[in-house]
């Protein structure tokens, strides 16, 4: 992009967009050509490298009443200006404003494929909701820090646009260091070169721990919630049971494109058809035993016998499948909820058997 002046669109709420304070929070989308309010300072930071061609403004209450729909509406307005770069806020501690900035960034980034940058206070609910989708610069909880935050947002934007690879990352990606550019990390983990070997760090820190000195763990361990088991089913002979597995059993050709590692998807397949032609997409175990007899993973044979014997009422036709190998636990929880919702929606299923590897 060397030399070319960037087209920039800026998103603000009704207050910073100079429409009015809380009493104007129900105002819908307004577009003003050129910079408005904090946009003037933003334009100054951009200098002759970019022009704020438009400012899209929306009231906090209006936006938060229907976040997804309004992000879509806002996206259309932004897109009509064909921007090279998108800024929102900063929102500081404003909760509704933070969500609006975050969802606008998410929609614009996904649709237009341009860098999207906003700023928030660490306790703003928008941080956790949207950190994955936007570069969210750290901001104080009050608008007093506006000039510094804008300066940092612009600095980060041009660092991203430069396309410069971060050489400390083994995979050499265009990912500026969060500490250096003062933004919230985006739920990505990367191998990074450091001055000490893994062994050096381990031994030095363990010696400190043994000496009773302060030591710093490289990971703060999580705390897990306890899941109470549900009440047992009283009479299986009256029940329809579904089969679920994370062992990666899928129809031949893997139509759902499940990955064999770090998979984020699940699929639902007719179990009769699946057992005729199948494959395994799972790189976490040696697949041959399952390929030989998929009943070893998904107890289709035993269930059919039990139904025949009248011990189980019915086997549900659909088998729910995922490949659970190195998938982050949060996503596993989400997939569980999604599959659970689907099972509930089908109404007839009283229980499920989950088998794993």
């Amino acid at each position: 992009m060397g030399g070319k002046k960037l087209r920039v669109v800026h998103f603000l709420n009704q207050f910073f967009g100079q429409i009015g304070s809380e009493e104007k929070a129900t105002t819908g989308f307004v577009v003003k050509e050129g910079p408005v309010g904090p946009g003037l300072a933003l334009q100054k930071e951009l200098g002759d490298r970019g022009d704020i061609v438009a400012t899209v403004i929306c009231g906090d209450d209006y936006f938060s009443a229907n976040v997804d729909k309004n992000a879509e509406e806002g996206l259309k307005l932004v897109a009509s200006y064909q921007p090279d770069l998108f800024f929102a806020g900063p929102a500081f501690a404003g909760g509704r404003y933070g969500v609006a900035c975050g969802s606008m960034c998410k929609a614009v980034g996904a649709e237009l494929g341009i860098f999207v940058i906003t700023g928030m206070y660490e306790e703003n609910p928008g941080v956790d909701l949207y950190r994955k989708y936007a570069f969210i610069c750290k901001a104080p909880n009050m608008a007093r820090g506006m000039p510094e935050v804008l300066r940092n947002m612009v600095r980060l934007a041009f660092r991203l646009i430069s396309g410069e690879k971060e050489m400390r990352i083994l995979a050499r990606e265009n990912l500026p260091k969060p500490e250096e550019y003062n933004y919230f990390s985006r739920n990505l983990l990367r191998n990074e070169y450091c001055d000490k070997t893994i062994a050096q760090r381990a031994v030095e820190k363990l010696v400190a721990k043994l000496q009773g000195k302060p030591f710093e763990s490289e990971v703060i361990p999580p705390t897990f919630e306890k899941v109470p088991p549900p009440a047992p089913i009283k009479d299986l002979s009256q029940c329809e049971i579904a089969l679920i597995s994370d062992g990666g059993l899928v129809p031949k050709g893997n139509p759902g494109r499940l990955a064999s590692r770090s998979n984020l998807k699940w699929g639902s397949y007719d179990i009769e058809t699946l057992f005729c032609e199948y494959e395994v997409t799972h790189a976490g175990y040696f697949n041959d035993h399952v390929l030989e007899r998929p009943d070893r993973l998904v107890p289709f044979d035993v269930m059919r016998d039990l139904v025949k014997e009248g011990k189980v009422g019915k086997l549900h036709r659909t088998f729910f499948s995922t490949s659970g190998n190195c998938t982050v636990s949060k996503r596993c929880g989400e997939m569980g909820e999604e599959i659970g919702a689907e099972i509930k929606r089908r109404e007839t299923i009283a229980g499920a058997i989950l088998t794993s590897t």
């Binding site: 983990l189 062994a199 381990a202 031994v203």
Partner: protein
């Protein structure tokens, strides 16, 4: 037990009529080496190539990388159980060549996940082996030999080459002598220093190819091992070797075991190195708890350790297995530093921990082994395979060694990451 490793720095390798080293130049009689390798009837033929940094060469189907080593003062003692007759490794004098490695390929393997090394471009910059002079050997299978049996033949061929090259350097001046001298058990507490052991997960059977474990310990596999006390020198000096597949681990990295060498560096200064407990990651839950209890007992009651560094192999199940061993250690009062390897590039570091144990409060990020990296680089020559050799990717895509860009997991790039702890790598949230 006292081990002296006499290192010779090799600056150049070249083919010649006699295997010998002079002024840092290792000349190799490839004909003689070929004859040595072909003495194994399981091997029909062998491709051998000398490669250097800067060569536009991509080496494929890599099973192992080995440092040239031989025993100087003991007969028939190299890689005991594999090559030499069974005896305890780790004492006496060993010649070691630095700056040169043997890269062992198995071109006709049916394994999907195999190693890859480039001699220039991004991978060569990432891997220490990309900066060395390497001897690439790629044996071909003789008719009628079983696949798993042949893997062992390839492994043996690599180890034989390592010994052959080190022996060939006899008479060359030694550049450095490292002394690894440690009495185990040594329960003398007069120093007042804390005693630290290493819990070393040597292997995990979860990836066993064709349901057979790879031999990696004195000539045997260790699928059914119970925790065993090892002298650290046994690990450094050929008692333990790499698996039949590179998984952020190879013989070279074991011969230079990161945590063992680091504990030696600290020994007598701010800790006493109490020894090593070697173990395999368990597949069965009952076996897991049994071996965790036994490991904690050996660390505490046999080695008398106050602290332990728990070193893990690649994989999710070993993560849990290691944590249970760590918990048992903390229960008996042994303080722990535990390795973890996040298995996914998404989430926070905290999201990647697979155990729920408040006592394990010192966690070291021993690299994200399954991290993906895109390599935009084209080789002009392929060893151990061809431009059409398929490159593993966990996504359902097809890619080949000759593609302009490959998308590969870093644990398949030997030397880039290292389960023994030698890599200067940390994991950060981005």
């Amino acid at each position: 037990m006292r081990l002296e490793i006499e290192s010779i720095d090799i600056k150049e390798i070249q083919a010649g009529s006699k295997t010998h080293a002079k002024n840092g130049v290792l000349e190799i009689n490839l004909k003689e080496l070929e004859e040595l390798i072909l003495r194994d009837p399981r091997i029909k033929s062998v491709e051998m190539d000398l490669v250097k940094p800067g060569d536009k060469v991509r080496i494929l189907n890599i099973m192992d990388v080995i440092q040239p080593r031989c025993k100087i003062d003991k007969p028939d003692a190299d890689f005991p159980g594999f090559i030499g007759k069974m005896q305890i490794a780790g004492s006496g004098r060993t010649r070691s060549l630095r700056g040169v490695a043997i890269v062992v390929s198995y071109p006709s393997t049916n394994r999907k996940e195999v190693g890859l090394l480039d001699m220039s471009g991004p991978i060569a910059e990432m891997s220490p082996y990309g900066k060395m002079k390497n001897v690439s050997i790629a044996p071909a299978i003789a008719p009628g030999v079983e696949e798993r049996d042949f893997e062992n033949a390839v492994k043996i061929a690599g180890l034989k080459t390592a010994i052959y090259l080190a022996r060939g350097a006899e008479g060359h001046p030694v550049d450095e002598v490292e002394v690894y001298d440690l009495d185990i058990p040594n329960l003398d507490r007069t120093s007042g220093l804390p005693r630290v052991a290493c819990y070393y997960q040597i292997y995990t059977p979860q990836f066993d190819y064709l349901a057979v474990s790879d031999p990696c310990f004195y000539g045997t596999d260790i699928r059914h091992l119970t925790p065993t006390v090892l002298h650290p020198n046994e690990v450094l000096d050929g008692g333990v070797v790499g698996w039949n597949a590179v998984k952020a681990l190879d013989t070279y990295s074991i011969q230079n075991h990161g945590v063992i060498k680091e504990l030696y560096r600290h020994h007598g200064k701010d800790l006493i190195f109490a020894g090593v407990v070697g173990m395999v990651a368990n597949i069965e839950p009952t076996a897991r708890v049994r071996s965790a209890c036994m490991a904690a007992k050996l660390v505490k009651e046999v080695l008398g350790a106050d602290g332990v560094v728990l070193v893990k192999v690649t994989g999710g199940m070993p993560h849990i297995d290691l944590a249970i061993a760590g918990e048992e250690c903390e229960k008996v009062g042994v303080k722990t530093a535990i390795f973890t390897q996040p298995l996914t590039p998404f989430g926070t570091l905290s999201d990647t921990i697979l155990f729920n144990a408040p006592s394990l409060n010192l966690i070291i990020t021993a690299s994200a082994t399954f991290e993906r990296t895109k390599i935009p680089w084209k080789a002009e020559k392929f060893l151990g395979g061809t431009a059409k050799t398929r490159i593993f990717c966990p996504d359902p895509i097809e890619q080949y060694a000759g593609d302009p860009i490959i998308d590969i997991e870093e644990y398949l790039l030997p030397g880039v990451l290292d389960c023994t702890g030698s890599a200067k790598v940390i994991i950060k949230e981005y």
